[in-house]
Symmetry: C2
């Protein structure tokens, strides 16, 4: 039997993020995270496999929202419209956790290893969106191109949102960036 | 004094690639590579820092060609046209080494670690193209968006080229993929 700890996962995640921001990701130990959260290391390992997972476990939920957004776009939506719906759904998830997401982004920007991990997660997102488009009947290479261009938009929009003075909501920045992509690709050949 | 070995670098690279394809990247040792090339391990380490560098050292040259293509595009070229010129220049480099590039792609596809490294290299390419666009006076976020969308095109085109039955030249596949990107982004909002 283990003692039930209210909100243990959230407390651990917040303590970890605070410590990563204060001391750096590499310099923080699981023991310190558990202590800051007022919990035990054992509790930490019931919720996360390692230090890094605290930063990346949210990616699964983000991907689910994006994929669901693509799949539930109107049946007659063009591929890029369906991707836009997926990106907007993902943007809403992050906007709801603005403080956490932006602090997390700063921690990741400070570590080459974490940046690499983030790039790999973005590539997985693109693969998942391409698969969702194929389920909508979009053929290759249009499905992969649309998904990868969509993730390029998401990547750039996310960086703008993080660098922004808390003015704009992420779904809005994504929409603007998608309009910019249309503008730059529509140019002369 | 070290003995001069004609084409040592090329012989080592080809021997390494052949062994990675035959036995897998992880299973191949530097000693085996040197032996296959008829050279010593010491010669290997004069040319490459490790096994992985054999696969990724060409990326520098590819990046230089792409950046140069962007910078030397006509002054009045739109951002995406300049990126298209850069991608075409990179595509020509790979097309000239078709056999090596395609065998290399198969080796990378067989290893999760190498795939991650390849993704990171693609992200560096996008960063370099965005910087080249800024040197042409393109503002942000248009520079990053165009560069990342361009790399999305390159990524998809490269996969088609590798999977293709040796019919199409890479610069041609890149051009087609860029047209597809225009088509998918031009759709209704």
């Amino acid at each position: 039997m283990t003692r039930w700890e209210p909100n243990a996962r959230e407390r651990l995640a917040q303590a970890a993020l605070d410590l990563y921001a204060e001391r750096g990701f590499e310099q923080t130990t699981v023991a310190e995270i558990a202590k800051r959260a007022g919990l035990t290391e054992r509790t930490f390992f019931r919720h996360f496999t390692d230090k890094r997972e605290v930063l990346f476990s949210g990616g699964t939920e983000l991907q689910e929202h994006m994929v669901s957004g693509v799949l539930h776009a109107p049946a007659d939506a063009a591929p890029m419209e369906a991707v836009a719906a997926g990106l907007a759904a993902g943007g809403e998830v992050l906007e709801e956790r603005r403080a956490f997401a932006q602090k997390r982004a700063a921690v990741i920007a400070a570590s080459a290893e974490l940046q690499e991990r983030e790039l790999i997660k973005l590539a997985s997102l693109a693969t998942a969106l391409a698969q969702a488009l194929r389920r909508r009947g979009v053929a290759e290479p249009a499905a992969s191109l649309t998904a990868q261009a969509g993730i390029a938009v998401f990547h750039v929009a996310f960086a703008r949102w993080v660098g922004d003075g808390h003015e704009l909501a992420l779904p809005e920045v994504i929409r603007d960036s998608l309009d910019e992509l249309r503008a730059v690709t529509a140019g002369p050949r």
